[in-house]
Amino acid sequence: MQLFGIRLPAMSSLIIWGIVWEVFGRLEISFFVPPLSAVVTTLFEVIGSAAFQKALYETAYAFASGVFFAVVIGIPTGIMMGKNRLLDELLLPWVNIFLSAPLTALVPVLMVLFGFGMKSIIITTTLFAIWIIILNARAGVMQINRSLLEMARSFGASPWAAFSKVYFWAALPEILGGVRIGVIRAVKGVIIGQLLISIVGFGALFELYANNFLMEHFWAVLVVLFAMAFTISELLGYLERRVAYYAAKR
């Protein structure tokens, strides 16, 4: 986007939306939307509070564990599916079903099976993230250029060398793409889990602020949360692009 010959940075329109928000809030059109400036002031206050830090810690813990399991289980599963036709045909329908299934419906099951705590939230997070990671790792392995595999064989690569020096790297752009989408889904999963189980982390915090009509606090936490989610997603997008340079060239 160019304005008067000056290139405007990609996300710069958010400044305009921030101004719109501020004006909307100042006009006191809705009790539920305080001006941005008030939210930002509260934000610094909230970030320092013990309740916020506890929620952040709990959320980060559940999120990190959930993503860890999704990656550690998902990538090898996907690679094996890509290499083994029988396994692929047995698992693929389920992966596809769970990829698009309303996973929120499973949270009550997790609650009765694993209790109302951290364990259920971690599993929810994993469930949100894992399917796309599997699917992308599988796609990555399946699209590997045949001549690359034949090259490895013709130079007498052992199976392990072929895997660690060729397969993995050839599939890496897709795998990372899957991890990126998986992580974004995990962010949603961890919040949905907390909202439904709602005695830990940000779920509890939102409940507290909403019930006491602390709108500025509510929005402040929301802004922090959205900003963190966006940063994570952009960071992973950046990493993916650093590997993707050779993805197009295969």
């Binding site: 996300m11 299934a101 309303p102 499973l106 919040i191 439904l196 909403a210 929301l222």
Partner: protein, 252 residues
């Protein structure tokens, strides 16, 4: 019988068999066997409670998905065609796409109460960003040679949009719709579990509270099946509307 179908059945048998065995051991007091859950499903289907529940659940879902699809594709086309709209609106949807919008639910409940409006809103905010972003991206990526071809045959702006840009973008638009619908399902169930227990969410919540776990699993099973069926129907619709999409693409 053909191999793919056979393997699908085998795969289903393995998973449901494992469920049955796990339920018989039992792994947990809260895990019924597969057949108990199916029996509960048939019971609810025959006494009609399942259908009443779905009539309730599908209302916000259908309204929300419809609004998201129409609005999402329109905004997406707009954003994809105009640099200015791209600059102005894309960031909002990019942030929405990355953000856990479920966190807005308590706010929506405060603003719009616990009724249908809130639930429709939940479905919309979950479903719309991906529809907008997919549509916009697909429109932006229309192969230049196709639009140049249209222009060289003197197609008007509208003809280029209707006969070239939209059909060329349709596979990606539809994949956005599928993702949007599946996010909409997540939103619909979430709002029934979180806002007020109605429909299928009510069956799930209620049967859990009276420890009728077979009914709870049956309801969950049914909603997953419904989502899968719905997404398949959407695929059928795509192939019906854009015949060539089913036939693969000439990439070079």
């Amino acid at each position: 019988m053909n191999r793919p179908l056979l393997l699908k059945l085998l795969s289903a048998a393995i998973v449901f068999g494992a469920w049955e065995i796990a339920g018989r051991i039992p792994v947990s007091y809260a895990l019924p066997t597969f057949f108990e859950a199916m029996a509960a499903l048939f019971r609810m289907a025959f006494d009609g409670s399942l259908w009443t529940a779905y009539a309730e659940t599908l209302k916000p879902l259908a309204i929300g998905v419809l609004i998201s699809a129409v609005l999402g594709i329109t905004i997406g086309l707009w954003v994809g065609l105009s640099k200015w709209f791209d600059w102005l609106f894309s960031p909002i949807f990019i942030v929405m796409q990355a953000a856990p919008l479920a966190a807005l639910i308590p706010l929506l409940v405060m603003m719009y109460g616990i009724g249908l409006t809130s639930k429709v809103f939940v479905v919309c905010i979950m479903a719309m960003p991906v529809i907008v972003l997919n549509t916009a991206g697909a429109v932006r990526n229309t192969p230049t040679s196709l639009t140049e071809m249209g222009r060289s045959f003197q197609a008007s702006w509208w003809e280029v949009i209707l006969k070239i840009v939209i059909p060329a973008a349709s596979p990606v638009i539809f994949s956005g719709l599928r993702l949007g619908v599946s996010a909409g399902f997540i939103g619909a169930i979430l709002s029934e579990l979180k806002i007020t227990p109605t429909g299928v969410g009510d069956i799930i919540t209620y049967s859990r509270s009276i420890a009728d776990y077979a009914s709870m699993y049956a309801a969950i099973f049914s909603i997953i099946v419904l989502a899968v069926i719905f997404l398949n129907l959407l695929e059928k619709l795509e192939f019906y509307l854009f015949e060539g999409n089913a036939r693969g693409y000439a990439s070079d």
